[in-house]
Amino acid sequence: MNQAYAVAAVTVVVLATVLIGALGLRISRTTSDFYVASRTVKPGLNAAAISGEYLSAASFLGIAGLVLLQGPEMLWYPVGYTAGYLVLLVLVAAPLRRSGAYTLSDFAEARLESPQVRRLASLFVVGIGWLYLLPQLQGAGLTLEILTGAPDWVGGLVVALVVTGAVAAGGMRSITFVQAFQYWLKLTALLVPALFLVVAWLGDDAPRARFAEPATFREHTSVRVDDTVRIDLDRPLRVTVTGTVDDRRHDREPVALDAGVHRIGAGTELGFPAHARVPQKAGSERTGASSWSQPLASSREEHPLYATYGLILATFLGTMGLPHVAVRFYTSPNGTAARRTTLVVLGLVGAFYLLPPVYGALGRIYAPELSLTGEADAAVLVLPDRMIGGVGGDLLGALLAGGAFAAFLSTASGLTMSVAGVLTQDVLPSRGVRHFRLATVIAMAVPLGLSIVTVDVPVADAVGLAFAVSASSFCPLLVLGIWWRGLTPPGAVAGLVVGGGAALTAVMATRAGLPADGWSHSLLAWPAVWSVPLGFLTMVLVSLATRDRIPAGTAATLARLHLPEDLMANDSTGVSGGARQR
């Protein structure tokens, strides 16, 4: 891949982001502009911004990588990410906007009239936000490393600086423009190369991708293994080796490997003959863990049906509680617009998700060795070079690199915006634009520090963890808060702690490798199936037990959440004002 083109593309994306952010700075005048873009963002623009923010690198690169590794079953990820918006639309979109609150913490406080619930909700917002920011920064580092060979902390630092600058300078209004621009950039960056790749694939007599059997090399391929891996061969294999295999050094020698497990040293180059099977990584070892392409549980195949439903529940119900998703609804002018915006978002996000599977399937045919080197995420980036080559391949590769960087930037800005909003309101002493800027720096500095200190946090785990925790904590709070009169502050606190806490503990335990296999492993690795009902049940039961603590203003709040704005607005000027004046 041509580094100069890739660096140029990334630079252009970064510059465009800064420029559009600066444009927003000229328009952004008031505090209200700053936080909610004065609530005047039209559905079309707002929907593009929401989609641009939502489609992170996990969508742009990760889904293709997952499909390459594990086949069409992984398509449940994009389906879940999209269906999450349908559930959000149906259950919370309009009432959330009508609540008139800015963050999820504001909603909790407005609905339950309790500062304690507010503080707990803030804790979850900041926690989920950081959990989600961390993989964005690490992924940016990984991408820039693959593209240019820069050290892996550089990408994270670039993203952090650009995002902090754009958010702190222009606030929500400039971010709205930036993210709307980045949605269209990401769609173009994935669509145009995909068309060329499909043409190239047709010109190649359209070979079929096979997922039922191991992938094979189409031609003689040489693969460089960056991190030490253990491979499991099910039949003998002849390769040319430069480096160490099973602790023996070779220098461009043909080596016959028996069936069984072999250890390939870091930096080894393997030359595979045409039509050789791509070796599978030995199961237990998970080296080079920093990858979206790693499934949340290594034992997915043990209980696939349960795991699929775990994924479905986490993504369908978790989307509504993601802090950067919720905050965008406050920028709609009213509840009806919020609903229409979500409808447009569903169209935009769904259109985008038609593309990554194409890359996954083509990657399985043309770049199967990525599963061996643990760089399946790079499938999207390397395919143009692999299938088209020449200047055309370089240009398309650069377009994809720019799109991938746009993915990091947009999701990271949305998350920073929402975390900074909560920090300004609930942690820092006084409100105001200057404190918001300070909060932005803090919101980005913590995950940036973590991303440099903790090297190998698996990205898929962090993203999946955020969805599972959000589905088990904010989903019950929002759904019950909007539709049930009986919710009490103690019930909300208990549900948040028990549901969200259980999901968090379960995935942490899996990360620590506690139950190695069997049902207990599946249960902990895919907690949403039981932790979401647990959260709901706790919230309902504790609320029923503390029925005397139902907030006094519940009826008024629910009326405000569900009545169309024109009724409510006319009331405040019509009734009380009219009575006073006349």
Binding site: P72, W76, T82, A83, A212, L354, A555, A559, D571, V575
Partner: protein, 132 residues
């Protein structure tokens, strides 16, 4: 419902109104049901409840369609494995077509139905409240 009937039927509430000249007509569109809602009488609460119930029913129908059409797919896909009849064609192309393409328009259509229905519910409610 005709104007002023519910309000004048509740004498205890009328006693608190003082000093408003009789000549001051209520502005057009300001129907009594609306003040029932803002003043949080039990009648107003009933109005809100009725709107919530119709919106919740719409939401549950949409969710039901989602569960039925999309949520049941994993079960459907695992059927061939359960029966392990090798003469069945591989489900892979079907899985690709459904999860890769078909599911997105289905989600969008459910969403569009919901948005239209929810807005209709609100319009009907506004009409009821404003007594038109």
């Amino acid at each position: 419902m005709s104007a002023d009937q519910p309000a004048s039927a509740r004498p205890p509430r009328r006693e608190t109104v003082t000093g408003v000249p009789r000549s001051a007509r209520r502005p057009p569109g300001h129907a009594p049901a609306r003040s029932e809602i803002t003043e949080q009488t039990s009648l107003g609460a009933t109005y809100v409840r009725s709107l919530m119930r119709s919106q919740l029913r719409t939401a549950l129908i949409a969710l039901g369609a989602l569960v039925l059409l999309v949520g049941s797919l994993p079960l459907l896909f695992s059927l061939p494995e359960v029966f392990t009849t090798s003469d069945l064609p591989s489900p892979a192309p079907f899985v690709w077509a459904v999860l890769g393409v078909v599911v997105y328009p289905v989600l969008w259509l459910i969403a569009r139905w919901y948005v239209r229905r929810a807005e209709r519910n609100e319009r009907a409610f506004s009409k009821l409240v404003e007594g038109r």
